[in-house]
């Protein structure tokens, strides 16, 4: 069996794949956080809870309504996005004139409510969710064995990230979003309904988190707390990348995921903290973040 730096090659590739998977979720979530923060100036602490809600929506749709994975990929983001729209209209929109920290505290409270309720209803234990039949099994790539579903997640998340980036950079809606991030008042003075744009953006960000949740359901178990630890890591990813750039958020997400995977191979004890350590180093060397501008 071939080895690389004394590590069996398949183990190394396996961890890189796991790193890519984790990185996919870091990228998807930090992307949504960055888009929401750019326009609303709110750090959406509920992002992890919305990811969890997406996974749960898929789980509940399957077990109570009999709706499978593929429709859930559409439905779950719609449901969670709709809930987010209500939250933005009734609560978040009252806080825009205040210090951004209030938005963080509000969404923190909402995250506790969602996670607490689901834990109360479904218990803390994870629930299995099988990948769809079309993506079950695995293939031998010659250098490693890859479960098809994992390959699908990496490709799907890349496509979603790219799609979101195109939406923001190349469409009219994206131009509104970019312009309003710079100067919301002027954009509204040009006749764009900015309050509705804010609602839509929050809804889209939450839907993106929910979509990540559905993708994650067959990989990690569906559990009420699956989002809360993830969101803190994603915060660190966001600090490392800086929130000024959409592409930066995506690249940083994948990069840190892979780095974390490699740490699991070479120094497993440090794998749970490596992202935080990198955050600390980046703060020392380049406080604004790798892709950020000092505000």
């Amino acid at each position: 069996m071939s080895t690389i730096f004394g590590i069996p090659a398949p183990a190394l590739y396996g961890q890189i794949l796991i790193g890519l998977i984790n990185g996919s979720f870091y990228a998807l979530l930090s992307l949504g956080l960055a888009v929401i923060f750019g326009l609303l100036r709110v750090i959406n602490f509920a992002h992890g809870a919305q990811y969890m809600l997406g996974a749960f929506a898929a789980y509940l749709l399957l077990n109570y309504v009999g709706i499978g994975y593929w429709p859930s990929l559409m439905l779950a983001p719609l449901i969670v996005g709709a809930v987010a729209v209500v939250i933005e209209r009734t609560m978040l929109s009252r806080l825009y004139s205040l210090d951004p920290l209030y938005g963080l505290l509000l969404t923190f409270g909402l995250a506790l409510i969602f996670e607490g309720m689901f834990r109360y209803w479904f218990g803390a234990a994870g629930k299995p969710y099988s990948p769809p039949a079309q993506l079950a099994g695995g293939v031998n790539l010659g250098f490693m064995f890859m479960p098809i579903y994992r390959g699908w997640v990496v490709i799907a998340s890349l496509v979603i990230c790219l799609g979101t980036w195109l939406l923001i950079e190349k469409t009219r809606l994206g131009a509104y979003l970019r312009a309003a991030t710079e100067n919301a008042t002027l954009v509204q003075a040009f006749g764009v309904n900015v309050p509705r744009l804010l609602t839509l953006t929050y809804g889209l960000g939450a839907a993106l988190a929910a979509l990540a949740g559905v993708l994650a359901a067959p990989i990690y178990q569906v559990s009420p707390l699956m989002g809360s630890n993830l969101i803190i890591i994603v915060f660190a990813v966001v600090v490392v990348g800086g929130m000024g750039s959409i592409l930066g958020a995506i690249v940083t997400g994948y990069m840190l995921g892979v780095l974390e995977g490699l740490t699991k191979v070479f120094y497993p004890e440090a794998s749970s903290i490596v992202i935080f350590v990198i955050m600390a180093i980046v703060l020392l060397v380049r406080p604004a973040g790798l892709f950020g501008r000092e505000e």
Partner: protein, 321 residues
């Protein structure tokens, strides 16, 4: 944080009404263990001190730390270890906890103050999570089990802290010491500069203050006092566990302060008492505490940003014209 609080300028002498109120409060605290369970009161005192320490940062410097559990829970581990494994006398054990928390505060603060506002909060949260992971893996914390069976010991070799009343009065003394330390800090020239930084950081910089040093100083003091609270808790309850270093605990101390009134001296005490009482009450039911904490958060942020003490002060101010 541009919070809706009232910053009360340093007064050379406390007003007589304040002195009277303070005397009544201390008398009530002295009598309390004869009315309610001492353990319950000691729990309130520990968390009240923790919340006051946290409030020093948010209320008087405008920095929202989302990782204060690190200092509270970290000190609990340090004190528990020093007392149980090294056989330290309780006060020396507390000192180990406080110094340890201050050192942690120095590291976390040094990193976190490199960014402002919302980033500061995210960084403290992330570093707090990192510390929680370290505690999970480090051998001396005993992972999921925590450090159990910490002896209360004899204070200075004289007072037997296994006596509930003795333990209570020592805890009360520690709380009062911490509370007045914070009062002194807030009303010192140092505290005035902190508040000037909160009001207008640019202006403070242009006046020639090394703003970062003041922020770091405040951060370390806040961490040390949070450590005093955590160390005391370890001795009172005779254990230190992961619960105290996790982000949920950082969230709870924020809630206590927000509910009681950010930027008021007494607010965190009120908030901590209410939250602890509520948790005690709910323990008998199966309704999840986290949900209620979340609901209180939402209500406070949406309609009650001054907190209880803040609202009362505002009411009295309006009455006084």
């Amino acid at each position: 944080m541009a919070v809706e609080t009232h910053y009360i300028p340093a007064q050379p002498k406390a007003r007589t009404s304040t002195v009277v109120l303070g005397a009544v409060a201390i008398a009530a605290l002295l009598a309390a263990p004869f009315v309610v369970y001492p353990v319950f009161m000691m729990s309130i005192l520990c968390f009240a001190l923790f919340a006051c320490a946290f409030n020093l940062l948010i209320g008087y410097v405008g920095l929202l730390s989302f990782g204060h559990a690190t200092f509270f829970g970290g000190a609990a581990y340090f004190t528990a270890h020093a007392v149980k494994v090294w056989g330290f006398e309780p006060l020396a054990g507390l000192l180990v906890g406080v110094v340890g928390a201050a050192l942690l505060g120095l590291v976390v603060g040094f990193l976190a103050i490199r960014r402002q506002g919302i980033y500061f909060s995210m960084i403290t949260l992330a570093l707090g999570q990192m510390f929680a992971f370290i505690c999970l893996q480090a051998p001396f914390t005993h992972g999921e089990d925590g450090i159990q069976g910490v002896p209360r010991g004899h204070l200075l070799g004289l007072i037997d802290l296994n006596q509930p009343l003795a333990m209570y009065y020592v805890t009360l003394a520690i709380f009062l010491f911490g509370f007045f330390a914070i009062w002194r800090i807030v009303h010192s020239p140092f505290g005035n500069i902190l508040q000037a930084i909160r009001e207008n950081e640019r202006r403070a910089i242009s006046l020639g203050y090394r703003v970062d040093r003041y922020k770091l100083g405040a951060f370390v003091m806040s961490a040390a006092l949070a450590g005093l609270a955590g160390g005391t808790k370890a001795i009172v309850f005779q254990f230190a566990t992961l619960t105290d270093v996790q982000w949920q605990m950082s969230g709870e101390v924020i809630l206590m302060t927000l509910l009681g009134g950010i930027g008021t001296l007494i607010g965190p005490v009120v908030g901590a008492s209410l939250v602890i009482a509520l948790q005690n009450y709910l323990a008998a039911y199966d309704f999840p505490v986290t949900v209620l904490i979340g609901v209180i958060f939402v209500i406070c942020v949406l309609i009650f940003r001054r907190g209880i003490a803040g609202e009362v002060i505002e009411l009295m101010r309006r009455k006084a014209g």
